[in-house]
């Protein structure tokens, strides 16, 4: 993956989250989360079900309003902006469950993505070249595609906005491991276009494989942050399950 140059050289993050607190009704879903994603990174948020990962991504995309704290994109505070404004500025998201437009064809789904595109490398033609099966099936309804194919169309739709940062929410959900491997295998190709990726993943080994930086959430709090090379499997496990806090389990003082 791309080097951590900007992070170590004191560069500025492309995307930054500061002291984010988000509520789901009465429930406090995120508790003072802060981090920065630097250009060219693959930043992975990991955590168990209900850790607040998707809420975090949705808040960054603008689909949730935080109770307090801010989201900065390229140095600008975008916390008050609607999702469509953020998308036009270069924050694209592949939502959990793919969320394709069911009554539109594959090509029309892509065209919607391209409607408000920023200038950039991605065109529908280029998407067809990158995912070569898609051209032949462009006139089909998305319901006729397999789960992996639908996920690829959702990625294509997001890429067509020509984002600077791509948010990927649980790409692996409901997909066979082989398909998940193949989809994550495309990441290096996407990064070559200058993309920065922030992803949420329940599958920790998958996240550790592709990420240049990981951030573990447990019940809405940060439990671990660092480069995959710098953390041990034990630390990740403790941060993921919160074992360090569970007195019943004899565990060395790893993690938080």
């Amino acid at each position: 993956m791309t080097a951590n140059g900007d992070r170590t050289n004191g560069g500025t993050p492309l995307l930054e989250v500061r002291d984010l607190v988000v509520h789901h009704g009465q429930l406090r879903a995120l508790e003072l989360i802060s981090f920065g994603v630097f250009p060219g990174e693959v930043y992975a948020i990991i955590g168990a079900n209900g850790a607040g990962k998707s809420t975090l991504l949705r808040t960054i995309a603008g689909l949730h309003q935080p109770t307090s704290g801010s989201v900065l994109f390229d140095g600008q505070d975008v916390t008050g902006l609607r999702p469509e404004r953020r998308a036009r500025q270069g924050i694209a998201m592949v939502p959990e469950g793919r969320r394709l437009f069911g009554s539109l064809s594959v090509q029309e789904n892509l065209q919607v993505g391209a409607t408000y595109a920023r200038p950039g490398p991605w065109t529908i033609e280029r998407v067809y070249e990158t995912f070569d099966w898609m051209r032949a099936r462009r006139n089909q309804r998305t319901a006729q595609l397999s789960g992996g194919e639908q996920q690829t169309v959702a990625i294509g739709r997001a890429l067509l906005t020509n984002p600077r940062v791509l948010l990927l929410d649980e790409l692996s959900l409901g997909l066979a491991p082989v398909i998940v491997q193949r989809i994550y295998g495309m990441l290096p190709q996407l990064l070559q276009t200058g993309l920065t990726v922030l992803l949420v993943e329940q599958d920790v080994s998958q996240a550790l494989r592709v990420a240049s930086h990981i951030h573990c959430l447990l019940e809405g709090r940060t439990t671990l942050e660092g480069r995959p090379a710098d953390v041990t499997a034990g630390q990740v496990e403790a941060a993921y399950f919160g074992l360090a806090g569970a007195a019943a389990t004899p565990q060395p003082d790893e993690g938080e």
Binding site: P83, E84, G102, E108, V112, T115
Partner: protein, 288 residues
Amino acid sequence: MNAVIQGILTGGLYALFACGLSLMFGVMKVVNLAHGDLAVVAGYVAIGVITITHVPVLWSFLIVVPVMAVIGYVLQRTIIQGALDRSALTTLLVTFGLSVVIENGLLQFFTANSHGIGVGLALITDSFNIGSQIQIPYLLVLIFAVAVVVLLGLQYFLSRSVYGRLIRAVADDKEAAQLAGADYRHVFGIAAALAFGTVALAGIAYGMYAQLAPTTGTDTILLFAFAAVVIGGLGSLWGTLLGGIVLGVAQQIGAQINISDEVLAGYLVFLAVLVLRPQGLTSRRVRS
């Protein structure tokens, strides 16, 4: 036989009533109870436009349709969107309130007298005969043709234009559309403008066909539009034509039996469809 042909042609008028209602529901999930009253407003505007500018009656739609489309966009972006942000029930209540306000406003300013849109042309008032039994008014043929053109136009717009595609996308999943950079409120506004454009044509057509009074909106246009939409299938554009035709034929056959049964016969079919096939005769979504 004559009744069936008359019924089919009247179905064109009912499809004009219904397609805007269907579009608003299909895209925004708004049941616009002020639909009929807005058609009456359009008819009154047409009468005013004709009186003041002396445009030929048939061409008054060139002014009334854009005026209503703008009203549609503005109403959607303000009152209706405000209600949508709260709940579906609020939306229903708000359009009901709008309906009451419009109806009473019309009563206040234009009295309860009914007005027709006089079409002096022989083409419109005459009819032609097929054999000795069948008599077909030109006006009904013209309205039916307009309905077909409107439906073709809507279908073409929805399936081919950029905004048509966005309207379908937003109807499917407005959050996903936002993530692609689309402002769904604006897209809703465009859809409302289209719907109100068809409402304008419905009001003008009914004013030529019959008489418009402040109460016509709720007691005739809205109810017939509902019946046509439900018979044809909620959210289906061509279903509104089918529903309109079924309603029209049922009414005409009812009228053959006894002239006072005309409206009742239509509603009996409406009720039968609701009971036997609640999804309507066609059950497609709003799309190409």
